[in-house]
């Protein structure tokens, strides 16, 4: 793999994470910065994703780069049976950076192995979505002033939710305490609890989204509980509202508490929470722009500190 690619959050070190967060903060202060002048960047979306694609494309535009690409693979040669390898090889001839989303797991890793052009993974099936993790980390860092020693409560679908798994892995460097709130069908998989045990990360598991859990949290990370994840629909009907956050539940919470959600939400956060200053999910999405600007610059080997001088 070429070293500039970002395929999984576990590919980058603590120092690199902190450096990206610093750069994200820089871009929040200076969002329009024409340092990609003359660069062409491909956004290859083999699977549609409005939010992620618009965020990446805005990031490129605000940095002064140009974009080629597609947002629907049915209009491309892959619908004629072209392999991913051939598509990537071909596109590599034209561009300085490839940002790709694919419905198959491992697609971005493979792409990064068949080309010398850096590849940023914008999501590969249920596998990895590192730019989401970076924006989650940046949101936590920005709202708490630190990443160290925080109590982070993860709620909802902890079994299939790739965002909670990646966030858990990325937080390993920062001495977190996790609270996992989920029903039996969607509880945190053993491999991630083993990961916590091996790395000395403290965690507790809860079936109930109780006041005690809420009031001891610095961050509540909500996720969507999807009906199709359940083998037993009755079970879904029983639990779906147990993990919904209402404004009144935040009455005894810490002042520094912020509510995060990777979006889209359905009914797991009541609309009456939106006006609470502790609701942070929309700003969180906005932070995605700055985090992605930082990721793009890193992949292209651009050091903004040097560019400024």
């Amino acid at each position: 793999m070429n070293s500039s690619s970002l395929v999984s959050i576990s590919d980058i070190s603590k120092e690199e994470i902190l450096s990206l967060l610093n750069q994200a903060r820089y871009f929040e202060e200076n969002p329009n910065h024409k340092i990609l002048d003359g660069k062409v960047i491909a956004t290859l979306f083999f699977e549609p994703s409005t939010r992620t694609r618009l965020s990446f494309e805005t990031a490129v535009n605000r940095l002064g780069g140009r974009i080629i690409g597609f947002s629907d693979a049915s209009t491309t040669s892959s619908s004629k049976g072209e392999t991913l390898k051939d598509t990537i090889k071909m596109v590599s001839n034209y561009v300085d950076l490839i940002i790709m989303r694919h419905y198959l797991e491992g697609a971005a890793r493979y792409a990064s192995e068949v080309t010398d052009t850096p590849v940023i993974n914008a999501g590969d099936g249920a596998n990895q979505h590192p730019s989401q993790t970076m924006l989650d980390l940046y949101s936590i860092y920005k709202t708490q002033g630190t990443l160290d020693n925080l109590t982070i409560t993860m709620v909802g679908d902890l079994k299939y939710g790739r965002t909670v798994h990646s966030l858990l892995m990325a937080m390993q460097y920062f001495n977190p305490t996790f609270r996992f709130v989920a029903c039996d069908e969607l509880k945190m998989p053993a491999e991630y609890k083993d990961f916590c045990d091996k790395n000395g990360i403290k965690y507790t598991e809860h079936k109930e989204f109780s006041a005690e859990v809420i009031n001891s949290s610095d961050i509540i990370y909500m996720t969507r509980v999807q009906r199709e994840r359940f083998t037993d629909i009755m079970e879904y009907e029983r639990v779906k509202n147990l993990y919904t956050l209402h404004n009144a539940m935040l009455d005894g919470s810490r002042d520094n508490l912020r509510i995060l959600h990777p979006l889209p939400r359905v009914n797991e956060i009541d609309y009456d929470v939106d006006d609470n200053p502790k609701a942070y999910y929309f700003q969180q999405a906005q932070n995605g722009l700055y985090a992605r600007q930082a990721i793009i610059c890193k992949a292209l080997g651009i050091d903004i500190n040097k560019e400024d001088k």
Binding site: Y103, L104, E105, G125, N127
Partner: protein
């Protein structure tokens, strides 16, 4: 000659490789891993032979062929107990256990249907994450599987 008659019941080798102590249930997987179907030399395959350690075992004898170590070690995936004997002039000149490589390229098929390796003409790649119960993880999609349950391609 005082050679064990049970061994001779299968066939003695003048020169070549004997892979012994393969669990019976894994014998044909081992045959597949070695890719010996295409060889033209004498091959003897025995199964359900008595074994004090394994209950029953399988054995593969291939005349006049020395396999590269990397190929032999792939057998460790499914039969960590297997032993390799190199034979010259009816004598065992070398005897060693197979040892698990850190990465396995090809051979194992990922059991995740949504993995890129099942949808592109490419080689699979697995990393060994647990040496004790031989758990391997797909380098691409991250799915883990116990190698005894892995699909051998």
């Amino acid at each position: 000659m005082t050679t064990n008659k049970k061994e001779l019941a299968v066939a003695a080798l003048q020169n070549g490789t004997v892979i012994d102590h393969i669990p019976s249930s894994m014998l044909f997987k081992a045959v597949k891993i070695l890719g010996i179907e295409k060889l033209q030399t004498h091959i003897t395959i025995g199964n359900n032979l008595e074994s004090s350690k394994l209950g029953t075992k399988g054995i593969i004898k291939v005349a006049d062929v020395l396999f590269p170590e990397a190929i032999l070690n792939r057998i460790a995936l499914i039969a960590p107990s297997a032993k390799v004997n190199i034979i010259r002039d009816f004598e065992v000149v070398e005897k060693h256990r197979v040892s698990l490589p850190e990465t396995i390229v090809g051979i194992v098929k990922c059991n995740n249907p949504k993995c890129i390796t099942n949808n592109e003409p490419m080689k699979t790649r697995f990393e060994v994450v647990d040496n004790d119960d031989v758990t391997i993880r797909c380098h691409y999609c991250g799915h883990t599987v116990k190698s005894s349950e892995a699909i051998i391609d």
